[in-house]
Symmetry: C2
Subunit: 335 residues, 2 copies
Amino acid sequence: MKLIIDAMSGDNAPEAMVAGCVMAAREFGQEYILVGREEALRPLLAREKADGLPIAIQHADDVIDMHDDPATAVRQKKNASMSVALRLLRDGAGDAMISAGNTGALLSGATLVVKRVKGIRRAALPPMLPCKNGHVLLVDAGANTECTPEYLLQFAYMGSFYMEKVMGVARPRVGLVNNGAEDTKGDPLRKETYQLLRQADEAGRIRFVGNVEGSDVPKGACDVAVTDGFTGNVMLKTVEGVASFLVGEIKTMFLTNARTKLAYLLVKPAMGALKKLLSTSEVGGAPFLGISKPVFKAHGSSDARAIRSAVRQAMNFVQADVVGEIERNIEHMTL
Amino acid sequence: MKLIIDAMSGDNAPEAMVAGCVMAAREFGQEYILVGREEALRPLLAREKADGLPIAIQHADDVIDMHDDPATAVRQKKNASMSVALRLLRDGAGDAMISAGNTGALLSGATLVVKRVKGIRRAALPPMLPCKNGHVLLVDAGANTECTPEYLLQFAYMGSFYMEKVMGVARPRVGLVNNGAEDTKGDPLRKETYQLLRQADEAGRIRFVGNVEGSDVPKGACDVAVTDGFTGNVMLKTVEGVASFLVGEIKTMFLTNARTKLAYLLVKPAMGALKKLLSTSEVGGAPFLGISKPVFKAHGSSDARAIRSAVRQAMNFVQADVVGEIERNIEHMTL
């Protein structure tokens, strides 16, 4: 397998991208193409003592950053590392592409250059949220602000394939995020989607567990939480905000007095497990579901270890052939 | 002031309603009408030794419960305590009405019997969420699944009046919940609402701080978070779910081993403050904003103390004349 890495992407580029790639090469084998400024990448590879590892450099002059307009960046900056990496993927030079760059630009670029699977209306970026007893895939979480019932049906199928084939969840439970559990709840989008998901469940193609409320998702009521990108973005950010607020309050609690400070020393190791649970770098990133070849988004703040995790996940995504699974089922996913 | 209390409402009715009313009468003075089955209420008042307190009973045979259809309950059960209490309010027998019953039935009933302020398109039920350094009013949080920009403009004004006049926040900061901070973000509803809120800010009528993301709300970025009822419901429930999930994980952390159990004993008093922060019974309830007379919804799970808090809040709501403030500004709130 050959992995194409947008080496100029993310807050810690290019250092973290190169170090993460070297870490992955040592641990997982495989071949790699680092795309970016050769004069910046070459010394970093030397610093990591990467001689003899199967890592090639593909020079690209330009960089897409967070200030570039997502809709037009890849089209306008043809020599940016992201644009070059996407074209390499399209042309078959590698099996998957990984970037920690501008999410919107990557989605637009992947759609423009690599294209969606035929029949898929919108690609989605589904992050994995921590929940009771595991993780839940939130799809969509921001890429598509306005959705139709057909988009949501496709998100449900794609999320279900991902959780089953990549995450190893048998018969993933699909829930529709709604403002109540009863099957009559919601706006027209939810009501129509509910019927489509129920039909897909009755045909034995997905496992639909019905509507889920915002409170049910952190409780682990489903493996795939389906929603439009607007609601999904607000949910995702709310989870982050509440977690950060509560962790802050807990810290304040531990700083109250000498007794609580002593308590902190006693729970410090156990707090580590809690922090790990809330941390995103353990998960690494998320694929764009619906693109015709594997494009993987790592977190912008990824360090080398997170990039290594993203490589591992991208490899699993390729091996599980989620794209092929979507293609083989496309007739059931279109109205 | 005279307060009308739906004594048969809530999970702990009628005991908690009667005990909360007696508590309020002793603490705040004022007059009260308890509406419900006289044969049930009379002995409870005796048990609370309420002789001599200005508490009257208005008999009502029937009860609306959680299984009644919200849209039709008040119309169909004319002798239910909620229906009778709403008619008493409409007819001027009291200054405010408080219920811990079926939220949907109370909203439909208040709209049908008491009516909205002329020009207000939809009434909203805004809960108060805990956030860094205080509380934020989330409006709407579930009453109105589908909204127009005009509804959201009205929610912004009404929420702003409430936070200023009742909660004492000077120049409350109004934020529009959106999937990004930039002013071009969101679906058409958000984009149009953004312009309306900006204009209201430029005219000096509200203080609009722009778009807020889900993560900004728990961080205390605004005093009033404006959104449609679908998104607001998902946000509110997500906050509850994440808080409950994290509190559970923290408990698990403290049960890890003997050291952490000892730590728990040391932080136990400080944990109380954290629990209080997350507790809803300290806040008591929320008014329906936009109804032409004060109708106050207490939590379904309210105990006597929470009912007493709800009475206090309803009194503040009457004294602050939020309804009058809405009426006086209605020309700015309609398109």
